[in-house]
């Protein structure tokens, strides 16, 4: 019993792959939604965005970093990023686009044409 307890308290390496959720800002305009996610250390090659049903999953894998010499102080998290969002049905999933710049991912999710407000001409 004692050894089981010790194993629990000294286990600080995750057994399975752990992700952290990136900070996001979400905006809505008449044209659609914009999602910005902060993923420092991730470049285009490490990004994976999948749309399934009404959910969007953003996964960012950090670039491999070579550590120079000895580590004196470590605060940065080395985990990869992942977050899932539920989509508004008004979004046109075929028009979703994304770009990443200096560790910030910007996803544009335009609304489908028929949902946008428009004037109906009266004869």
């Amino acid at each position: 019993m004692q050894t089981t307890l010790e194993k629990q308290t000294t286990n600080n390496r995750p057994a399975r792959e752990e992700y952290i959720a990136p900070n996001v800002n979400i905006f809505e305009t008449q044209e659609g939604y914009v999602l910005q996610a902060e993923m420092p250390g991730v470049s285009k090659e490490g990004l994976e965005i999948t749309l399934e049903g009404n959910e969007i999953t953003i996964t960012g894998r950090r670039n491999a970093e070579t550590v120079a010499g000895e580590t004196l102080f470590r605060e940065r998290n080395t985990a990869d990023y992942r977050r899932v969002f539920e989509l508004d049905p008004a979004i046109d999933t075929s028009k979703v686009s994304a770009k990443i710049e200096q560790g910030v991912l910007t996803v544009s999710l335009p609304k489908s044409e028929r949902v946008k407000p428009r004037k109906i001409p009266v004869d």
């Binding site: 019993m1 800002n25 420092p40 580590t71 102080f73 560790g103």
Partner: protein, 155 residues
């Protein structure tokens, strides 16, 4: 008469009580963790200073800071009194100010972080690079700070 200090025996976790023992571990971890861990999870403190790593090899110190979404002209790196100072301003883009905001977790505003260096550095050789939101500052050690091999003479 011997007075023995009576210690509460460690209670073995019952199979149905796993939740309680992990809760206890979480609380232990909370108290043992350094303040920076708490700062990272607390939204109040985490935004104001970037997380840094400091590495050292025989010729250089390497400081890495996470600063996503900045322009390199908005980042200020300076050296003074043996400390490296990283500061700047994270600006939000004006075009989104008219939009309706659903979530706002990103930090914007001025920040400043000073990192103490354990040995003197050669100020003129400092290089800084900003890629994928990570600022990497390489500080070459001053000659007197580099490790020197001393030959032992045997008479």
């Amino acid at each position: 008469m011997n007075l023995l200090r009576w210690q509460r025996p460690e209670l073995a976790p019952w199979p149905g009580f796993n939740g309680l023992s992990t809760l206890r571990n979480e609380i232990d971890r909370l108290f043992e963790a350094p303040l920076t861990e708490l700062a990272r999870t607390s939204h109040l403190l985490s935004g104001s200073a970037p997380a840094v790593d400091i590495h050292e090899d025989k010729d250089n110190f390497v400081v890495k800071a996470e600063l996503p979404g900045m322009k390199k002209e908005d980042i200020d790196v300076s050296l003074h009194d043996g400390g490296l100072s990283i500061s700047g301003e994270r600006k939000s883009e004006e075009k989104w100010e008219a939009a309706e905001v659903y979530r706002s977790e990103r930090f914007f505003g001025r920040f400043q972080r000073t990192v103490a260096l354990p040995a003197p550095v050669n100020a003129s050789g400092i290089k800084a690079q900003y890629k994928d939101g990570i600022l990497t500052v390489t500080l070459p050690k001053a000659e007197e700070a580099k490790p020197k091999q001393i030959d032992v003479q045997v008479n």
